[in-house]
């Protein structure tokens, strides 16, 4: 009996002690995917949010507490993207490696120049406006390079012996992004200036990078559901602007966006905004591959 207990105890305690891999926890799967690129064989990555989920409203599952308890590095977006669920988990995780300002705590929004930083005072009558700026920044591949740079720096801080490996991986990642970005840009070049509508301000960085023009959102204010009268007023405006695409994330209800798309003669496109949001969007690169192919196909059809 004693021996069984000891074996059980060891099986529980040992994996953490034996594993030399850096235990990396990412909130958004895209950060996880980039962490895998930069960390390579040296890291074990867990993403809390799944690509199909609304990243603002992830459940604070108790199992995440234990995951965070074992983390060497925590990667979060910041800019209040995870404010509705992450803080109590980190508080409960009792892990000094990932508490605020610990070397293993990476807040990416601090390193990225955010779009749509409100110029004036913000209050909640404006909906769920993020005062630090729009946090959906990972949908710009050049921000992906900044993310990779920050992760390489964090991994090197926490695991200095492998710093050279992380640096080499970072350079490889950057090269790959540069090459891919050129392809992606070329692929979407014919559609530069195309007007699109999104549900939420999730694709601002993507549109900005690839030359799409966002004419508006289906929701009247961030996080606020559209009313029939808002939709009725939105439709003629979008129609007159010649909007070609209505883009929504996989987790949105298609009913209202579909209605809007039909009314303005545009195509409804369900695009993952995160890795794992579609079967083919398996990692950070294939996410762009998939999204860009979808947009190009839809616009080709619309012509």
């Amino acid at each position: 009996m004693k021996r069984t207990l000891l074996a059980l105890l060891l099986s529980v305690l040992l994996p953490a002690a034996v594993s030399a891999k850096l235990n990396v926890v990412a909130t958004i799967p895209d950060f996880g995917s980039i962490a895998e690129e930069v960390g390579g064989e040296q890291v074990k990555v867990t993403a809390l949010c799944r690509g199909t989920e609304d990243p603002h409203f992830v459940d604070a599952r108790p199992t995440f507490i234990r995951v965070l308890n074992q983390a060497d590095v925590l990667i979060e977006s910041g800019a209040e993207l995870e404010i509705g669920w992450l803080p109590p988990l980190v508080n409960a995780a009792r892990n000094r490696r990932i508490i605020a300002d610990a070397p293993g705590h990476v807040v990416l929004a601090r390193s990225v120049r955010l779009l749509e930083v409100p110029a004036g005072p913000v209050d909640r009558s404006m909906g769920d406006v993020h005062p630090a700026g729009n946090p959906h920044f990972w949908l710009d591949p050049l921000n992906g390079k900044i993310i990779a740079r920050e992760l390489a720096a964090a991994f090197s801080r926490v695991d200095p012996p492998n710093a050279a490996v992380y640096q080499a991986n970072l350079e490889k990642f950057n090269e790959r992004i540069d090459k891919k970005l050129a392809d992606w840009t070329k692929f979407l070049e014919p559609y530069r200036g195309t007007k699109v509508v999104t549900y939420h301000k999730s694709f601002e960085y993507f549109a900005d990078r690839f030359g799409l023009v966002i004419s508006g959102q289906v929701e009247p204010k961030p996080g606020i559901e559209p009313s029939p009268s808002y939709i009725a007023a939105l439709i003629p405006r979008l129609k007159s602007e010649g909007v070609k695409l209505v883009i929504i994330e996989p987790f949105r209800s298609q009913k209202t966006p579909d209605y809007v798309a039909k009314a303005i003669g545009a195509k409804l496109l369900v695009l993952p905004e995160a890795v794992g949001g579609h079967d083919q969007a398996k990692n950070y690169f294939s996410l762009f591959d998939y999204d860009i192919a979808q947009i190009a196909a839809a616009l080709k059809e619309a012509r």
């Binding site: 989920e53 509705g84 000094r96 913000v122 900044i146």
Partner: protein, 528 residues
């Protein structure tokens, strides 16, 4: 005279001339200094201009290089990257942690939650009758369920702190204030430990440690209000918790708190005392010996509350949380002062959330808590002063004294252990963003005590009295409560709830409540 003037002027002149020479030199020196300064400044400025020109050239070269790339709609993100050290945009106001008090860097978040209800009920005893919770709707018409201020933040690198202060208005229109919670908590103790100390809600089950605003129903479950008290079980004390190194979530916690006061109902709660100032009618916990006011004399005068919680993901979309709780402490009954209460609880929470949820919807949650209470009722002689209960000497037993009609004398109640149990089970279905339909079933009962079998009356002071009968605080009752909640955003809600109450001996009642709530300022994320 003229000579004198001349001499004077000459003398003055001779004294002035050296002074003039001095001044000339001074001016020359100043001029020299200024020239040097001017040249120095010019040199510096030239240097600055050179540097800036160089920088400008570099930037322009970079931009030219980028312009050749077809993708650019704005400068390369690398060039835009803000240095990590600058952090968030300084001075930006944040709705989620909006009011920062103190210098930048040391701050606390301030929030305010206002909860109100309006409604009607067929019950004649809403407050402490059909509605047992301290923050439940307590009258027909409008109720202020509470306006709760929350202060939270990091104290220093070692502690974080939190305080919840509730302002409210009772059914009589009197304003009152309660310290719901006020504690500090360790940030990073070794060994997966965490310590919380101060005024704390006892970590018992699910509902007790949550603030009413995060409840899914207008009112407190009956089992919570009856066993853990109208305001929940909370008292000054300490809670030590430990996260076990298991593959799934397992947390073990142990609380030590004072066992006296009105927020330790079922233990040495205030009120319902006999022979003291707060004399009230009520069974069975009204037999309160003065020794029960002893405060904390011994170690076992404290309230101990262990809890074990474990949780795992059943599938990618289903989470199960199981908990076992207990609370042990002395109670206020009887004359001996050494009677105890034990409360045991088990809870289950299951949640399914769509893998493609939009704003957190749709979801289904099932939450159930069951409790068992064993209450040692101490022996008590209602003829406390040995005068046959006739303190005023009018020949009749005084008003409010419990009389055994078999003997015609104040009752002598033997010690016994009373067992009560109950549960609630609630199902919530978030069917559309912002919309939740729920239903809750409540059941509580108690084994009939010996004192409930005696022919007791509560004396009216004139030789008669009302039959005590079955104890209304322990008798069987159940309630079913369907409701519908609309959350326009996470910061406001409107909730309509119907309660069908059935109380043994008292019959059935119907109530309908409309709850409305606002959240201002900081609002901490909800725990699972």
């Amino acid at each position: 005279m003229k000579l004198w003037i001349f001499l004077t002027v000459f003398c003055a002149g001779t004294t002035v001339l050296p002074a003039q020479e001095n001044e000339t030199e001074q001016l020359k020196r100043q001029l020299q200094e200024m020239r040097e300064n001017f040249e120095k400044t010019q040199r510096e400025q030239r240097e600055q201009i050179d540097t800036l020109t160089r920088k400008l050239d570099e930037v322009m070269k970079q931009q030219a290089a980028q312009a050749q790339r077809p993708s650019e709609t704005r400068p390369a993100a690398e060039a835009q990257a803000a240095p990590a050290s600058t952090g968030m945009v300084a001075g930006a106001w944040s709705p989620a942690d909006p009011i920062r008090i103190g210098r930048s860097g040391t701050y606390m978040d301030v929030g305010l939650v206002g909860t109100f209800a309006a409604g009607m009920s067929t019950a004649s005893d809403i407050e402490e009758g059909t509605q047992l919770g301290g923050h439940d709707p307590n009258q027909r018409g409008f109720t202020v369920q509470g306006v709760e201020a929350n202060f939270t933040g990091a104290v220093d690198p070692y502690f974080r702190a939190n305080a919840n202060i509730l302002f409210s208005v009772d059914s009589g229109g009197e304003s009152f204030m309660e310290l719901e919670e006020g504690w500090l908590e360790t940030v990073s103790l070794p060994g997966n430990f965490q310590v919380r100390a101060g005024q704390i809600l006892t970590d018992f089950g699910r509902i007790n440690s949550q603030h009413p605003h995060s409840w899914a129903f207008v009112d407190s479950p009956l089992v919570n209000a009856r066993f853990l008290g109208p305001d929940g079980l909370r008292n000054p004390g300490v809670r030590v918790s430990w996260l076990a190194p298991t593959p799934f979530f397992t947390e073990l916690s142990f609380g030590v708190q004072n066992s006296q006061g009105e927020t330790a109902a079922g233990f040495r709660s205030a009120g319902h005392s006999h022979g003291g100032e707060e004399e009230e009618e009520g069974l069975p916990f009204g037999f309160r010996h003065p020794d029960n006011d002893r405060g904390v004399k011994h170690f076992d005068d404290l309230l101990f509350s262990p809890r074990l919680a474990t949780s795992f993901d059943l599938t990618d979309n289903q989470v199960l949380l199981l908990g076992a709780s207990a609370a042990f402490g002395p109670n206020a009954s009887g004359a001996s002062g050494d009677t105890h209460t034990e409360i045991y609880g088990a809870d289950l929470t299951w949640k399914w959330k769509s893998p493609r949820h939009h704003g957190g919807f749709p979801f289904v949650t099932w939450q159930t808590e069951a409790m068992l209470r064993r209450y040692e009722l101490g022996m008590f002689d209602w003829d406390e002063d040995g005068n046959g209960g006739d303190g005023d000497g009018d020949g009749f037993v005084d008003e409010g004294v419990l009389v055994n009609t078999g003997t015609g004398l104040p009752a002598v109640l033997a010690g016994e252990t009373l067992t009560d149990w109950g549960f609630y089970s609630q199902l919530l279905y978030g069917f559309h963003k912002g919309w939740v339909a729920g239903v809750r079933f409540d059941y509580v009962t108690g084994d009939r005590g010996n004192y409930e079998n005696l022919p007791l009356i509560i004396a009216d002071g004139a030789g008669g009295g009302a039959a005590a009968g079955r104890d209304p605080l322990r008798a069987e009752r159940w309630r079913i409560s369907p409701n519908l909640t609309w959350y326009p955003t996470e910061f406001s809600k409107l909730r309509l709830q119907y309660n069908y109450d059935h109380r043994r001996d008292l019959g059935e009642d119907h109530s309908i409540w409309l709850q409305f709530e606002f959240v201002l300022g900081a609002h901490a994320a909800h725990q699972f």
